[in-house]
């Protein structure tokens, strides 16, 4: 199980923190799935996705550092973090189908989070919104990849 600490999403920093926790959770789950003996045929895919989510975390940290404009640091409303919590209790003894289904839910939730966050961020920080939008679409693509396994 990957430990995550999801904050409420009411500031720019807390939305990025939430996203970082999502990435940490997703990456950790993929690493655990890659070690599952019954899911071994998909191990490489899971390893690749684990690495991709780690890289997304780095991109988020870069975004937090470089795309911030304190002139428009408005409180964020209408984004309830509870709607985007992911299950990081990686199941044991699963085969490829079950593992992909479990990870697919994470990607689906992540996609929803990022695309919703992009809409909100667009009003505040357009540059950060573009990154969120990109990550959301990547998660949708990851979900499609997992569905095909």
């Amino acid at each position: 199980m990957v430990e995550c600490d999801f904050p409420e999403c009411n500031t720019f920093g807390s939305v990025i923190r939430f996203a970082l926790e999502l990435e940490k959770g997703a990456s950790g789950v993929y690493e655990e799935l890659a070690r599952e003996p019954h899911a071994a045929p998909a191990a490489e895919t899971f390893k690749t996705l684990a690495a991709a989510h780690k890289k997304r975390g780095e991109l988020l940290e870069f975004t937090r550092q470089q795309k911030l404009n304190e002139m428009i640091l408005e409180p964020i409303q209408d984004m309830n973090g509870k709607n985007y919590l992911i299950d990081t209790r990686t199941p044991k003894g699963v085969d490829v189908k079950a593992a992909a289904k479990f990870a697919g839910k994470i990607e689906e939730t992540s996609a929803r989070f990022y695309l919703d966050a992009a809409k909100i961020a667009k009003m505040l920080m357009a540059e950060a919104a573009r990154i969120m939008d990109r990550l959301g679409k990547e998660s949708q693509a990851n979900k499609a990849k997992l569905d095909a396994l």
Partner: protein, 493 residues
């Protein structure tokens, strides 16, 4: 949500940085630095003497000529290195600021970004300080040119509200232009500048080019009186800005002295309310209202007054107050117990003058931070132009809600203020916005922007009692302040 970790619990006794060395103050006098959120003592800052300040001025003066002879592009390269080092230490800079100043981590990260942006802008010095010339400008066969030259040693006296950024409105431009510099950080928040100066050292600036002398008025007065100091930059309250302007000018120095403010945010009936309120919350409550650009009076024009007030109060109630190390906190404390008392006195005074406190932040309790100097978001309705709360700078998270009948009345009210720092209008009408920006006698005008904070490549402006001097901090204004134009007329026989 777990708190972000502090860089250190306690920073001990701070040192001065003079001629490339970290040295203990010889004054023997130290004052405590308090974390305004927790009440913990997190370090001690020396109250340096006049002699120590003079030694720093001499060191800066000694370093000047060699630095002045260093080509601008070479000077710029040291700033590129500084930017790189600052990016590596970005999070530490921000967290020290939260710890000593009380702002939220988002605000501190934003300030760190702006600090770096000033370094980036100053690194453009080879272009920024180019002169101009004209062949046959004097007469046939006589050429004339104006070269832009540095002047020597400059100094800054800095405030508590932006521990990182404000010294960087000045010194990068001064030093990039070939001058040397002395910073006196605020004694309430000296640690951020202390940390940043270690990065300056790491970047490779030669000894004496940038110096830090901690202390109080003894340091400031020495900087203003010393004949080898060419100019002073200051940000703080209006009475002190006036004093600095007068004293420095008496001693033949250039001065740029930024004073206080009383900023009005005017909402027209056609404003997009939801977006307007979000933006105004950041202006009124950001940095707990301790910005010279913070909104202070909310002026509702016409029939927008009632719906705006209702929504604004509801949204203000949702502002989460606490320790800025929690990324979900929207607002931290004010800087000190004294500052808190002053803010509360203003609220009490408004009530006595007949205004109604609709949202009262005076008795806020923040669990776990009982020693913090918190004032919660406060909205006072029924404020009229004659009330003290409408006229004086509060420097806290307090909104004076005013109702007016027309834009003319709102602009007249803005002009009645002795301050002229900033004013904003919220409207969808280009005509009204144009009229507002054209007529308003303030240095920074916002159109649907409540925090009119100029970027590094624009001047941080200010009119009336909000600024004394002519050339502002940041960008081209700063380069002009720290240089002079030398005219050269050339003829060859």
């Amino acid at each position: 949500m777990a708190l972000l970790s502090e860089v250190k619990k306690n920073y001990g006794k701070l040192k001065n940085y003079v001629n490339g060395e970290w040295i203990d103050s010889t004054s023997g006098k130290y004052i405590d630095i308090e974390n305004p959120t927790t009440g913990e003592i997190i370090g001690q800052v020396p109250m340096s003497s006049a002699d120590e300040t003079k030694a720093a001025i001499e060191a800066a003066n000694e370093a000047w000529w060699a630095w002045r002879e260093t080509p601008p592009i070479t000077r710029a390269r040291v700033f590129f290195k500084l930017k790189e080092v600052m990016e590596q230490h970005f999070e530490n800079i921000a967290r020290i600021m939260v710890q000593e100043q009380g702002k939220t981590i988002d605000e501190a990260r934003g300030e760190t970004r702006r600090t770096i942006e000033n370094v980036e802008t100053a690194a453009g010095i080879p272009t920024l300080m180019m002169g101009y010339g004209l062949e046959d400008g004097g007469a046939e066969g006589i050429d004339e040119e104006a070269v832009i030259s540095p002047l020597g040693v400059f100094g800054a006296v800095c405030p508590f509200n932006f521990p990182a950024m404000i010294p960087y409105w000045f010194w990068p431009y001064a030093v990039a232009a070939g001058n040397t510099y002395i910073i006196k950080p605020s004694s309430q928040v000296p640690m951020t500048q202390n940390y940043l100066t270690k990065l300056v050292e790491e970047a490779g600036f030669p000894p004496g080019v940038l110096n830090i002398v901690n202390g109080s008025h003894e340091v400031s007065d020495t900087l203003m009186e010393h004949p080898k100091v060419k100019g002073i930059s200051f940000v703080g309250s209006t009475p002190v800005a006036k004093y600095i302007y007068k004293k420095s000018a008496e001693n033949g120095k250039r001065v740029q002295a930024q004073g206080g403010a009383k900023n009005s945010l005017v909402v027209m009936p056609d404003a997009v309310l939801d977006r307007t309120i979000s933006n105004m919350l950041a202006s009124f409550y950001g940095c707990a209202g301790q910005r010279c650009l913070a909104g202070s009076n909310l002026v509702a024009v016409g029939d927008v007054a009632e719906p705006l007030l209702k929504s604004f109060v509801e949204r203000s109630k949702k502002i989460k107050v606490g320790y800025g190390m929690d990324e979900s906190v929207n607002m931290g404390p004010v800087i000190s117990a004294k500052a808190k008392t002053k803010v509360i006195e203003y609220i009490d005074g408004a009530e006595k003058e007949g205004a109604k406190v609709l949202l009262d932040g005076r008795k806020i309790k923040v669990p776990g931070y009982e020693k913090g100097h918190f004032v919660g978001p406060t909205v006072i309705d029924g404020v009229t132009p004659d009330m003290k709360i409408a006229k004086e700078e509060v420097f806290g998270p307090v909104v004076g809600y005013m109702r007016m009948n027309s834009l003319d009345e709102a602009i007249d009210f803005i002009h009645s203020s002795p301050f002229g720092n900033a004013a904003s209008i919220y409207t969808q009408s280009g005509k009204l916005a144009r009229e507002f920006r054209y007529r308003c006698q303030v240095g920074n005008v916002g159109i649907n922007v409540g925090l009119v904070a100029a970027m590094a490549y624009f001047p941080f402006a200010g009119y009336k009692n909000s600024f004394f001097g002519d050339l502002h901090g940041q960008g081209q204004d700063a380069v002009r302040f720290f240089t002079d134009r030398k005219v050269v007329i050339t003829r060859w026989f």
